[in-house]
Symmetry: C2
Subunit: 389 residues, 2 copies
C-alpha cells in the first residue's frame, strides 16, 4: 500500500431540493456572480429559471457565459476570464455537467494567470492554482468534476485535448432530479465515463490496498445495477441518485488510494479521439476499454489475476481458470455497454485510421503509459485503435 494525501475540500450537497442551500453557499463570497452553462438544456428543464430566481431574490448581480461546448474549448475559457475581469466577479456558479464545470475551473484560475496566453496555463504542468471560488449545480452524472480539481480543455486549432489541475469547487449541489431529463445516450455515455475512472485505477499492480479495491468494485456494481434502470425509467430517483453518488467518488482519486499510478491509458487514448473528432468522451471510452483490456491481456497474460478478480467480484462470474475468467469479465463489460445502446465501433462515429499514428504519439508523449498496468507502446495504441474500428 503506497502513501497518499487525501485533500478534497469540496462540500457535496446531495439530494433532491438541496438547491435551497444555494444562497447560503454563495453569500460569503460576494454579490457578483458569473453564471456559466452549456447549450441551453437548463432553460428547457426550468433549472435556469430556478437558479436566476434565487440569485435575484438574494440581490446578486448576474453575468452570464453560455454556450460552453461539450468538449469545452480554450476560447470559452478566454471569454470567461474576460467577463470575470470586466465585471469584478466574486464567485463563479457553474450549472451543468463536467464540461461546464471543467471550463469554469479553468476560468476561475485563469483570472489569476499571469501569462499572456491562457492555452499555456492548460499545457503547463502545475498543481492546484489560486482561483476565484467556484460553486456548481450538477446536471449530469459522469465526469466527477464536481468533486475534483481537474479539468479538460480542448484546442481545436492544434487538435489537443488536455487535462490539468485547476481548483476544487467549494461546493457542489448534486440533485439527482436534475438528471431526469438526460437522454439515454448521454446517460449511458456518462456511466461509461464513471466506470472508466474506476478502471484506470483498478487495473494497477498494487494488490494490497483492499478498501480502495472494494470501493472501486462497489462503484462498478452500482453502475451495472442502476444504468439499465435509469435507461428504462429516466425519472427513477433511486437509479439517478445512485449514479450521481458514484460519479463523484469515481474520479476523486479515493478508489485508487494506496495504489500505483497507471497513467490512465484509456483516457489518454480517448482524449485524442475527442480532440480530432469531437466525439462524446464516454462513448469513446466505452469503445476503447474492452479493446485495451483484450490487448494487454494478450500482451501480458500474467496480468490475468486482476481481470479474474474483476470478473468474480464485479460480475459474479465463477470459475478457477484465470484466463477464462479474465475473458469472461471483459465480455460481460462489452455486452453491458452494447445493451446500454452505446456504439460499438469507431466506424459508426465516422472515424477512420487516418490519424491513428499521430494520435498514438500524442497519447504516449508524456511517457505515462510506460507505467500502465501493462506498458503500452505507440504500436500497441495503434492496434487498440484499429481494433476499435
Amino acid at each position: 500500500m503506497l502513501n497518499y494525501i487525501h485533500d478534497i475540500p469540496t462540500k457535496l450537497y446531495f439530494g433532491e431540493g438541496q438547491i435551497k442551500h444555494l444562497d447560503e453557499i454563495l453569500r460569503p463570497f460576494g454579490k457578483n456572480v458569473l453564471l456559466t452553462y452549456g447549450g441551453g438544456s437548463i432553460k428547457k428543464s426550468g433549472l435556469y429559471d430556478k437558479v436566476t430566481d434565487i440569485l435575484s431574490q438574494g440581490g446578486y448581480t448576474i453575468t452570464e457565459l453560455s454556450g460552453i461546448e461539450p468538449n469545452p474549448r480554450i476560447e470559452s475559457v478566454e471569454k470567461g476570464v474576460d467577463l470575470c475581469k470586466e465585471n469584478n466577479i466574486d464567485v463563479i456558479l457553474a450549472v451543468g455537467g463536467g464540461s461546464t464545470i471543467d471550463c469554469s475551473k479553468a476560468i476561475a484560475t485563469g483570472v489569476y494567470y499571469e501569462g499572456d496566453d491562457l492555452w499555456q496555463m492548460v499545457v503547463e504542468p502545475h498543481g492546484v492554482l489560486k482561483a476565484l471560488p467556484l460553486v456548481d449545480i450538477l446536471t449530469l452524472s459522469a465526469t466527477g468534476s464536481e468533486y475534483d480539481n481537474g479539468g479538460v480543455i480542448t484546442n481545436l486549432k492544434t487538435n489537443e485535448k488536455l487535462g490539468n489541475s485547476y481548483t476544487f469547487p467549494v461546493a457542489s449541489i448534486c440533485d439527482p432530479t436534475y438528471t431526469f431529463s438526460v437522454s439515454k445516450y448521454q446517460t449511458a455515455a456518462g456511466t461509461a465515463d464513471i466506470m472508466s475512472h474506476i478502471f484506470e485505477g483498478y487495473f494497477s499492480r498494487t494488490e494490497d490496498s483492499e478498501l480502495s479495491d472494494y470501493i472501486a468494485e462497489g462503484v462498478l456494481k452500482t453502475a451495472i445495477k442502476y444504468l439499465p434502470v435509469a435507461l428504462k425509467e429516466p425519472d427513477n430517483y433511486t437509479a439517478r441518485a445512485n449514479l450521481m453518488a458514484i460519479a463523484s467518488v469515481a474520479c476523486s482519486g479515493i478508489p485508487a488510494y494506496g495504489k500505483q499510478g497507471t497513467g490512465w491509458p484509456c483516457h489518454a487514448m480517448e482524449h485524442e479521439l475527442s480532440a480530432y473528432y469531437d466525439i462524446t468522451h464516454g462513448v469513446g471510452l466505452a469503445i476503447l476499454t474492452p479493446r485495451w483490456m483484450r490487448l494487454i491481456l494478450k500482451k501480458d497474460p500474467s496480468c490475468a489475476w486482476r481481470f479474474a478478480r474483476f470478473a468474480k467480484n464485479v460480475w459474479g462470474i465463477e470459475g478457477d481458470d484465470e484466463q477464462a475468467l479474465a475473458l469472461a469479465g471483459i465480455e460481460a463489460l462489452e455486452k453491458f455497454f452494447e445493451e446500454s445502446g452505446i456504439p460499438k465501433t469507431l466506424t459508426e462515429l465516422n472515424i477512420t485510421d487516418e490519424h491513428f499514428v499521430e494520435m498514438a504519439e500524442h497519447a504516449n508523449a508524456g511517457g505515462y503509459l510506460k507505467h500502465s498496468f501493462v506498458a503500452l507502446t505507440n504500436e500497441d495504441i495503434v492496434e487498440i485503435l484499429k481494433n476499435s474500428l
Copy 2:
C-alpha cells in the same frame, strides 16, 4: 436514498514517513503548540522524541498536556483549556489514539466556550464549534476521530460518557508504523470499534444506498482479513496500513450516506458500560454487538434480510434461508471476536447487573433508540446487557 451533506475538511497524510509534512502543516497557524498525549507510550516508542525534535528545529514553543485517559475525562479538558489560555496557544498537536484526539477537540473548542462550566459544553447539543486549529498524529486504528468532528468525554462523578461534535482536525498524520507497538488486546479492541462504526449505519432500513453499503462491506472485509495478520505479525505494514485506512472511513459518516439514522444502539449501550466501569470501548462493543444482533433478529424476524446480506457479502456464507443465513452471519462475527482474543462476557470484566436498569434508562434517554433498525425499549437493553454477562 436520503439526502446528505458531505463536509469533511480534514486532510489525511497517509503512510510511512508522512511526519515529514508536520512543520509545513503547523507553520501557518503560529508557533505556540499545545502537545497533548496519553500515558507515555509515545515516549517508549520514540515518537515523542521525533515530534519534539521537529518542533524544536522549527522554532515552536511547546506546552505539554500529558496523561489523557483512555476514556478522556472532563478534568483533562479543563486542564487543557487553562493551558491554552495561559500560553496563548495557536495550534493543538494531539499525538495518540481516539482518546487523546477526542479530548483535544473538546479543548480546542473549550477555549472559545463562553459558559462557566465546560461539562455543559459536553452535555449541550450543538453543531461544529469555533475552535483552535487541531492537528493530530495517529497511533491507534480505532475510533476514526482523526477524520470526524466528534468526541466522547467522560464524567466519572456523574457516571456519564457523552459524545458530541466539536471540530474537525485540519490534518491527520496516519503512519501505520506508529501502530506496530499496539498490543494485541488494543489492536483487537480497536478493530471491533471500527467494525461497530460500520454496523451502526449498515443495519438501517434503507435498502437503496448501494455505494454506502459496498463501502461498509469493504471496511468489514478488510478488517476481517487483516486483524488476524496484525495480531500474528504486529510489524506487518500491509495489515497495519489497511486497518488504519478503514478506521478513518468507518466513523466518517460516509458508509452511511443516504441511509436512515439508527441512533447507534451499541455505542449508546457501551458508553454506559465505560462510564460505569471504565472498560476498553472496543471490548464492550465486541461483547454487546452479537447479543444486540440476536435480540433484534428474534424481536423482529422481518429484519433478517439485512443480516442475510451481511452473511453473504461480508462472510461469503451461501444459502437461501434468510433466518439461517442471518444466524450464521452473527455466529461468524462472534467467532471472529473470540479468535481475536477479546473477552466474551461482561462477567470477565467484573461487571454485574447492578446498574443495568439505570444504564438502560441513560442509553435510551435521548429517545434515539426508538429509531434504531429495530426499536429498543429499556427492557430490551437490560436483556441485551444480561445476555452479555
